[in-house]
């Protein structure tokens, strides 16, 4: 028996599930929610922090309403994905990881969303846009901006 009682190991995947659930609710991981999770699961907050800070899917900072993920996978890269990213950086005025001033868009890069045959690809929230050209971007972003007022959605190209 160890002198200091050890917490029981969690069942497989439970902590990741919990973090995903918090992330889905708030769009990021707010500290109070993590403290509550530590309490609920019976694991130290330090373990939760260590896990949460390891993975790219989680952020401790609030994000914009829409997350733009520019694919930088190999196929996208050699077919101009870096230039798509560059265009978005100028359009939004933020670097990857940043959120624009009106908190509408967070710009991120991702190493491969697995739609390589459609390269270059950008994913905005749940929608994947393939065979992209930089000149398509203004029209696509406009859709999300107008979404805020109209509340209607269109997918694909």
């Amino acid at each position: 028996m160890p002198l200091i009682p050890q917490p029981l190991p969690l069942a497989g995947g439970v902590l990741l599930d919990k973090l995903h659930a918090i992330n889905a609710e708030y769009g990021y991981l707010p500290e109070p929610a993590l403290r509550a999770a530590a309490e609920e699961l019976g694991v130290p907050l330090s373990q939760i922090y260590s896990t949460a800070s390891f993975y790219a899917s989680f952020s401790f900072e609030p994000r914009g309403r829409h997350t733009i993920r520019v694919c930088q996978g190999t196929a996208c890269y050699i077919r101009g994905g870096d230039r798509i990213l560059e265009k978005l950086i100028t359009m939004l005025g933020v670097e990857p990881g940043g959120t624009d001033d009106d908190r509408l868009f967070t710009l991120e890069t991702v190493y491969c969303v697995g739609s390589c045959s459609m390269a270059p690809v950008v994913r905005i929230d749940g929608d994947t846009y393939g065979r992209l050209k930089a000149e398509h971007l203004p029209r696509i972003l406009r859709k999300y901006r107008s979404l805020e007022s109209v509340g209607e959605e269109e997918q694909g190209q």
Binding site: Y55, V113, S117, A134
Partner: protein, 621 residues
């Protein structure tokens, strides 16, 4: 209904058969992530609305991926008595016309790619059959056997295609015989390592300790690869069935499917499939009346490439950071929570269910000695036909790239092919006669890997590609061991110097040294293989490195510090598109007059070059 016996399976299959081959018109739309990215959702909606407007008696279904991503969105129209046709690159407008034609009982010729041969359906004049298309002619589908042909989460349809026949057979054999069957099939790990699957299972089966676990590695992180995503999205039961067979063989009662976070649709489909299998009793207690219990849980990753490494993946399931640990001990002896664990790739599990259904002899007859069976590649990059390709092991790179892939894009010459993602290497065109198998690719300086195959042409700079991969491994290195953490960073710095025109010949020597050290000293597979892109490009494309450091020239015209962009006034029509696209305002010119680029402002991003409708912007190397 609950499925207890083989005859229950047969009744379920009969229901599925009626759904796959209905007596009325059926239209299927490929709606895996690729299809969706190409606009399949809008096509599906149009087909639905128009069919309703015409009052058409039609079944509309969403299926998975047929693999020919280049010509997505794909729509499969099956008209009993008339024929079955696959339509390519369908747009909402084309979908509208299609329904109008179908309403008059016609199968229109426009946009038709091929006929899909089916017993009892007449062939159509003037259209090739699907398997005659160069893209499909050399393919042999085992892992992707159902992909695109069935509604992915409809258990009935999976069973109708012979699904769960493998498990039913396995459960009638003693567990050791199941291990023997897999061993005899010659199946090797399709995640890239190529370790004999049967031997791994045997080690786990013989290992002391309980409980035992089964894991499906669906953390497909290699950029440029999406085979596992497609299998999970298009045919999730084939993987789940394989895992139950594995559990029975090694004596495990619990399994985990770990899917990367970037694949939300795969997570959704496999989760649905698990619930459905539980509902009918194909997961849970006393499966098929055998007394064997098995449960599966889906774990969604959280964006860490290193978790594709098996010990890191295990740490991630346990709830910690996804850091690898030294091997041995291998997971087959000490895996999840220190217990014996079989961890195999998605494609391996999908192969297992087929092997048990058809037998080891059948599987062994595919491929070549020592490299049996089939392997799936995602053929992407600068190749005419992109898509998922499943071939018997042993076919040559040339057959793959030129016969199936149709050669380079826009008539450009193919220079190299990259296999194995960041752990693999770049092979030059002069080695395309080599057969695709585990040993040959390794000897040539690349690896089989999990199946990414990225084609590169004359416009791809191999130094830039090496830097791209080192940037990737540097970002994704978990930081636990120094050779990987620091070594990738150093290699990245040197490569950056070279592409920026600041490199020296000594840099190339240093790069080669560091690469060799990291390969020998890193803790896990990620670090040990991280230098491969550098070593293989140095081996085959040293001239490109030399051009960068000695002549300050990028032969492919990619590296920004070494190129200039110039508008050729004799070609420029003054349309102003380049001016609009330029992110830094470096282009000026009046409407309908030749434009010019100010080299002092130009960042050489080449957006103008990509956008110019006249090809008037030249890259000066």
């Amino acid at each position: 209904m609950r499925v207890h016996t083989r005859s229950d399976l047969e009744s379920l299959g009969a229901v599925g058969l009626a759904a796959i081959y209905p007596s009325r018109l059926k239209v299927s739309v490929g709606m895996a992530t690729c299809g969706l990215a190409a606009g399949a959702e809008a096509v599906y909606r149009t087909l639905h609305d128009e069919a309703l407007a015409y009052g058409l008696d039609m079944t509309l279904v969403s299926t998975g991926c047929l693999g020919y991503c280049q010509v997505e969105p794909l729509v499969d129209v099956r008209m009993p008595g008339r024929g079955r046709v696959l339509y390519a690159r369908v747009t909402p407008e084309r979908a509208r016309e299609l329904i109008a034609a179908l309403a008059t009982g016609e199968l229109p010729a426009e946009g038709a790619l091929a006929t899909i041969p089916e017993e009892g359906l007449p062939p159509l004049e003037g259209l090739p059959s699907l398997e005659e298309l160069p893209f499909y002619a050399k393919q042999h589908k085992v892992i992707l056997r159902n992909s695109g042909w069935i509604a992915p989460t409809k258990l009935e349809e999976y069973v109708a295609q012979g699904g769960y026949g493998g498990l039913a057979r396995a459960l009638e054999l003693p567990p050791q015989a199941v291990v023997d069957e897999v061993t005899r099939s010659g199946l090797r790990g399709r995640g890239g390592g190529g370790f004999p699957t049967g031997r791994k299972w045997q080690t786990c089966r013989d290992a002391p300790g309980a409980p035992r676990y089964i894991i499906c590695n669906g953390d497909e992180g290699d950029p440029g690869a999406y085979m596992d995503r497609t299998v999970l999205e298009s045919d999730p039961y084939s993987v789940i069935e394989g895992m139950v067979i594995g559990g029975y063989a090694v004596g495990a009662h619990e399994g985990y499917v770990y899917v990367r976070d970037e694949y939300p649709l795969a997570v959704e489909r496999v989760t649905q499939a698990v619930s459905r299998a539980e509902e009918v009793g194909l997961l849970g207690k006393n499966i098929l009346g055998s007394g064997f219990d098995f449960a599966v849980r889906v774990v969604r990753g959280a964006g860490a490439f290193v978790c594709g490494e098996e010990t890191a993946l295990i740490a991630s399931i346990e709830g910690g950071m996804g850091e690898p640990r030294p091997k041995p001990p291998y997971p087959a002896l000490q895996g999840l929570w220190g217990c014996p664990t079989v961890i195999n790739n998605v494609k391996t599990w999908a192969s297992v269910s087929a092997i048990l259904a058809h037998g080891a002899d059948w599987y062994q007859a595919i491929g070549v000695e020592g490299n049996t069976g089939t392997v799936v590649f995602s053929l992407v990059g600068k190749v005419a036909n992109t898509g998922l390709v499943e071939v018997p092991l042993g076919i040559t790179l040339h057959e793959m790239i030129y016969e199936i892939g149709g050669g380079g894009r826009d008539g450009k010459a193919v220079k190299a092919v990259q296999t194995g993602g960041p752990s693999g290497g770049c092979l030059p065109a002069r080695l395309f006669h080599l057969p695709i198998d585990y040993e040959t690719l390794t000897e040539a300086g690349s690896i089989m890997g999990s199946g990414g195959m990225v084609v590169m042409d004359e416009d791809t700079c191999m130094v830039d590609v090496a830097r791209y991969f080192l940037r990737f491994t540097m970002d994704e290195s978990c930081g636990k061991c120094t050779p990987c953490r620091e070594g990738t960073r150093h290699m990245y710095r040197i490569l950056t110097r070279i592409v920026e025109g600041q490199g020296t010949p000594e840099d190339i020597v240093l790069l080669e040294q560091i690469a060799t050290w990291v390969k020998g000293a890193a803790l896990c597979g990620l670090g040990q293989t991280a230098p491969n892109p550098v070593l293989s490009t140095l081996r085959y494309f040293r001239d490109e490195y030399e051009a960068h450091v000695r002549e300050r020239r990028c032969p492919a015209g990619v590296c920004r510090a070494l190129i200039q962009l110039v508008i050729r006034s004799e070609l420029c029509i003054g349309c102003g598109i380049c001016k609009r696209e330029c992110p830094v305002g470096a282009i000026s010119g009046q409407n309908k007059k030749p434009h010019v680029i100010d080299p002092s402002l130009c960042t050489r991003c080449r957006l103008c070059h990509d956008a110019c409708p006249e090809g008037a912007i030249e890259i000066v190397r």
